[in-house]
């Protein structure tokens, strides 16, 4: 008999001394022999905040002693992480106390910009910095060029509205540029054009019977890390776990089955799984429906009469079969993906048996490829076929998070602002070859990496001023060298940052900012483990050196300075629309303004005016103490019958994509085939509307560049920001196959042998785009013909630990100097997965 952990702790508490506040941490039964003199932990306070090391956005608590942040745990109230965090939450402590944080505002004195060029920064006062920035902004307005100002966003909180949206629009620029397309817009594309969800799915691991992990390692990255870490061990006992990934991940090590497909062949394998499910009658009939006479007519290679099938919650199953699936046999897919065809059959049968409690966990690896849009659709279509979409033990949508929206501010937009904000954006979204079809709209989404295209071509116009915040586009975008050139040409750049990153090195003014989780103020909205949440970021500690909350304080100070220069609209707007919701008072300083904005947004969660469901929170003070609100649990099948697609059904034949593509084509007076061509897809005609396989669009001739390069995110990556922390290098080996203290490329021992490369050799990796150096590790977890390397190292700025020589020489290699520029154009997403970057490897 196994005593459940919870019961054990209960027993302990019953026999023990005074229980500590934190559930799950007591061991009172064992504190029998209290030895006098053990003072234990010195007094301190746990302050609630949010970790933003990845997009799980964990509600956390920070332990503060003597005004210092010393420890971290998950927020005790969190139904997402249940009180624990992944390594990132702890690692971040070294970011707060990083020796290389900027101490004072600094100004560039060397007008020459370039990689490795010393900006010759000198200190300036905050006042001089704000004056200079306001002067530049006024200059652009005076010369009727305010559109040439761009705000480029990186890691944000939802107070972003102030800096990203309101300030940019009231000032008069269309260029609020987000980083979203770097992240996973192609993944959202897959979900949207099948189930009408432009967003990430939630996952019900507690009730799953079959977990299909595809193109990610959810115990290491993606969007519910601690909850998955907690559950995967138990899932192994009660469900089948399959990892489809060219990379041998922790999930693959834990899985019943690892499917090491060739990168970019996702839609072939997903299609073949669907093929088997249909031919063997394994689809989930209560969701998909059935043949009218009950006889399965799906036979390999044979078309089926659409009229013979009655669908229920889905649309176009027979069309998908006729257009694509009928010919995608396991044998064919296995040849394309270089895997064992038996695996495909086994997975199809296993999922059919477990349906509908099948959880299809699609990650960016399946999507963020030049031709990844249809791969993402194909993988997500399996959630439809098994009925696991929006269902128990499957993928879920999100419960509502009833915070306030940005208040109306259009009355503060003058004629210039109204005119300029309608202009085209620098990322060329909506151009024929950049459909960026977010939520069905041509140019509806951002194409972050395409900004460099627009900037270099001065099309639609040139940029003259950039304000970047918590971003590092020149490091974090593929084809980084294009950004180097693009930034060199921008006359005035402001960087709001904690560290002097690569982006700072092209900047004219750099302002020190507060670090998230510890100093920065804001809030987030997220979901995981069936619960949506809103969590605060709080200033648990004061910054050692003066630093600002850039999302609110920067617009405030600039607003003041613009008013002095005869443009009062911004500050008047901010003071007017973000009053204290409790007193109605207008803010009188930037920190007060920050708090009022935070209170305004979150008020419905704590002001008691309306029952919004979820946690009951009595007032602002209580909200700050708890630091978070949880929704009620999400109700599975809420979307069934009302999916946000054109047909309100789950679409195997995407009427929604058809409408979007036709809309985009009509805008450009061409047909859909022309759009497909412009976006580097090979499908023509009806095939454009169904999930299907296309050969990966490779950059580099395989004869010259024989290895497919696989980029992945380390479980220690706090996006690109933890590489200046010694703990990152110390524990880098927690990424399976990696080696600590170095930047590692993993290759299969057989490939190593053929190349004469040994473990530990320094190697040069070269693509059509550039070369980087790192250290080889020969590892059996690598598919021959591929190599894999985690993103993050290769900084030439950021700090002493991240760079070999700060400002000059990189430590290791940046994957983005190796991966060439390309896009998944239909979604506007950066292309970074799918092995499209072909490389050669040489001993350095």
């Amino acid at each position: 008999m196994k005593i459940k952990r919870r019961d054990f702790l209960k027993l302990s508490a019953a026999t023990g001394v005074a229980a500590a506040a934190f559930k799950g941490s007591t061991l009172n039964a064992l504190a029998d022999a209290y030895r006098p003199g053990i003072g234990g932990e010195a007094p301190g306070n746990w302050v609630a905040s949010t970790c933003q090391g990845c997009t799980t956005w964990c509600p956390v608590e920070v332990f503060v002693q003597d005004g210092r942040a010393v420890k971290v745990r998950g927020n005790r109230y969190s139904k997402q992480n249940e009180g624990t965090v992944c390594p990132r939450g702890h690692l971040s402590l070294q970011q707060v106390y990083d020796p290389d944080r900027i101490k004072v505002p600094m100004k560039r004195t060397n007008p020459v910009k370039g990689r490795g060029v010393d900006p010759k920064f000198v200190p300036i006062s905050w006042d001089e910095a704000y004056n200079t920035i306001a002067d530049k902004m006024m200059e652009l307005r005076k010369s009727d060029e305010s559109e040439k100002y761009a705000l480029m966003r990186g890691r944000y909180t939802y107070l972003r509205d102030v800096l990203y949206e309101v300030m940019t629009k009231v000032y008069g620029s269309p260029n609020s540029i987000s980083h979203s397309a770097m992240c996973a817009e192609a993944e959202n594309f897959g979900a949207y054009y099948t189930q009408g969800l432009w967003g990430y799915r939630d996952y019900d691991l507690d009730h799953t019977k079959y977990l299909l992990i595809w193109g990610c390692d959810p115990v290491a990255s993606n969007r519910m890390i601690p909850a998955t870490i907690k559950r995967l061990g138990d899932v192994m006992d009660k469900a089948t776990v399959v990892a489809v990934d060219p990379r041998f991940t922790t999930s693959a090590a834990k899985a019943n089955e690892w499917v090491p497909l060739d990168p970019g062949t996702d839609a072939a394998v997903a299609g073949a799984i669907a093929h088997v499910m249909l031919t063997e009658g394994l689809w989930y009939k209560p969701f998909v429906g059935d043949f009218k006479d009950g006889k399965n007519l799906f036979k390999a290679g044979a078309t089926v009469d659409e009229a013979s099938f009655a669908e229920k919650e889905t649309h176009g199953i027979v069309k998908w079969w006729n257009l694509y699936l009928k010919d995608m046999t396991p044998k064919k897919a296995a040849e394309l993906a270089k895997i064992d065809a038996d695996q495909i059959v086994r997975i199809a049968r296993g999922m059919g048996k477990a349906a509908p409690n099948v959880c299809v966990w699609m990650g960016p690896g399946a999507a963020m490829q030049p031709r990844g849009g249809y791969n993402a659709m194909a993988v997500n279509a399996l959630a439809g076929l098994t009925g696991g979409v929006d269902n128990e033990g499957g993928t879920l949508s999100s419960a509502k998070i009833p915070v306030n929206k940005v208040p109306k501010y259009d009355k503060f937009m003058d004629e210039v602002a109204k005119k300029k904000t309608k202009m085209k954006k620098i990322d060329q979204r909506g151009y024929l070859n950049v459909p960026a079809l977010s939520k069905g709209k041509s140019g509806g989404g951002v194409s972050t990496n395409n900004c460099a295209t627009g900037m270099l071509a001065k099309d639609p116009y040139e940029l003259k001023m950039i304000v970047g915040y918590m971003n590092n586009y020149v490091f974090a975008n593929q084809g980084a060298e294009r950004w180097e050139k693009a930034l060199e040409e921008v006359p005035f750049i402001v960087h709001l940052t904690t560290h002097a990153s690569e982006f700072s090195m092209y900047s004219d003014i750099v302002l020190p900012c507060r670090i998230n989780q510890y100093e920065r103020i804001g809030f987030i909205k997220q979901k995981a483990n069936r619960y949506a949440d809103c969590a605060l970021l709080q200033n648990a500690v004061d910054p050692i050196f003066p630093a600002i909350n850039e999302e609110t304080e920067f617009p405030w100070h600039i607003g003041m300075k613009l008013k002095e220069r005869g443009f009062p609209n911004l500050i008047d707007c901010l003071q007017d629309i973000f009053k204290d919701p409790e007193t109605g008072n207008k803010a009188t300083n930037s920190m007060e303004f920050t708090e009022f904005a935070l209170k305004y947004y979150t008020a419905p969660l704590w002001d008691g005016k309306k029952d919004v469901g979820g946690d009951k929170i009595a007032g602002w003070k209580e909200m700050k103490r708890r630091g978070m609100w949880n929704s009620d649990p999400y109700k599975p099948r809420s979307e069934w019958g009302k999916f946000h697609t054109v047909t309100k059904k789950f679409e195997f034949y995407s009427e929604t994509l058809k409408k979007a593509l036709k809309g985009h084509a009509e805008k450009h007076k061409v047909d859909v085939d022309k759009v497909m061509e412009a976006c580097n897809y090979t499908a023509r005609g009806e095939m454009a509307f169904v999930p299907h396989y296309e050969a990966p669009r490779l950059h580099g001739d395989p004869k010259q560049y024989p290895f497919a390069f696989i980029d992945y995110k380390s479980r220690l990556n706090r996006e690109g920001r933890s590489q200046n922390n010694p703990w990152y290098y110390e524990f880098k080996h927690v990424d399976p196959g990696d080696v600590g203290l170095q930047d590692t490329v993993r290759l299969n021992p057989a490939d190593g042998k053929q190349l004469g490369i040994k473990d530990g050799d320094t190697v040069k990796l070269t693509s059509v785009s550039g070369s980087i150096q790192c250290v080889a590790r020969l590892w059996e977890g690598v598919k021959p013909g591929t190599v894999s390397k985690s993103y993050g190292q290769g900084h030439w700025a950021y700090g002493r630990t991240a760079a070999k020589v700060f400002g000059k020489e990189a430590r290791g290699g940046n994957n983005n100097n190796l991966i060439p520029f390309d896009l998944e154009r239909l979604s506007g997403a950066n292309a970074r997965n799918g092995g499209f970057a072909m490389i050669k490897i040489e001993k350095a």
């Binding site: 053990i38 192994m236 479980r715 598919k783």
Partner: protein, 253 residues
């Protein structure tokens, strides 16, 4: 008699790194330097098989708090600096330690000098007068006058800057130079009714702490049910850290 022990459930463990990092924040250990690991909690990895039939496992490691502890036997001072508490913790008294490192040499789970990211249960804090962590005594500024330095950050916060203040009669929250240091099962917490920080921090709930001599404890029952094993049984140390179940799926295709 109580014998504190830890069980690590390898099936639940995802090898994520949270426990070792949480340990560093709790116990204020230095960054690895001068051939010493300074990780009370760490990991060893093993890959077997050939592509595509690969198996991989991560094994979290820490002081085994051996019942028959070679480090205690080797300690030459009287009374011993390395000793067993009546609860079975292998405890270190900083004051009595003379820095001879005989414990480190005797421990089959430690190395006198580590290379790369080798693990070592016992570390040496450096010769007399050496800083706790040279990373935070370095005065260089990468952009002079504009960015900070390790020394400045430490001066404005603490050494190390994330130092968790706690008190224990044998054990300093930051150990002085010229002694050895290692995991004490967070006795400063345990005696206050809290679990060791690595246990609390484990997002997988893979680390279970308790009294192995109590047949009804969770640790005793898990070890019995899953035939828990310690490391290097051939050394006869009778370790009190037990590993149960398999990291990778035993039903793997």
């Amino acid at each position: 008699m109580t014998q504190y022990a830890m069980v690590i459930d390898l099936q639940k463990c995802m090898g994520c790194g949270a426990c070792a990092l949480a340990c560093k924040t709790e116990n204020n250990t230095a960054n690895r330097h001068d051939g010493q690991a300074h990780n009370f909690a760490d990991y060893q990895h093993e890959t077997t098989g050939k592509f595509p039939k690969v198996k991989y496992q991560t094994r979290p490691v820490l002081c085994n708090h051996c019942s028959n502890a070679p480090c205690v036997k080797a300690c030459p001072v009287t009374p011993k600096a390395m000793y067993k508490t009546k609860d079975g913790i292998t405890m270190h008294n900083d004051e009595r330690c003379i820095g001879c490192r005989a414990c480190q040499e005797a421990c089959p789970y430690s190395k006198m000098e580590v290379k790369g990211t080798d693990t070592s249960v016992i570390s040496y804090t450096g010769d007399e007068g050496k800083p706790h962590d040279p990373f935070y005594t370095d005065k260089t500024e990468v952009i002079p006058g504009l960015t900070s330095s390790g020394a400045e950050i430490a001066a404005k916060s603490a050494m190390p800057p994330t130092k968790t203040n706690f008190s224990h009669p044998d054990y300093q929250d930051v150990r002085r130079s010229n002694i050895t240091e290692k995991c004490i099962f967070c006795e400063h917490r345990v005696k206050k009714g809290l679990e060791p920080n690595c246990v609390v921090a484990c997002p997988a709930r893979a680390r279970i702490f308790g009294d192995i001599n109590d047949k009804n404890s969770e640790v005793a029952m898990l070890v019995k049910k899953y035939k828990g094993k310690g490391l290097k049984p051939e050394k006869g140390t009778k370790p009190n850290v037990y590993y149960i179940r398999s990291y990778s799926n035993t039903a793997k295709k």
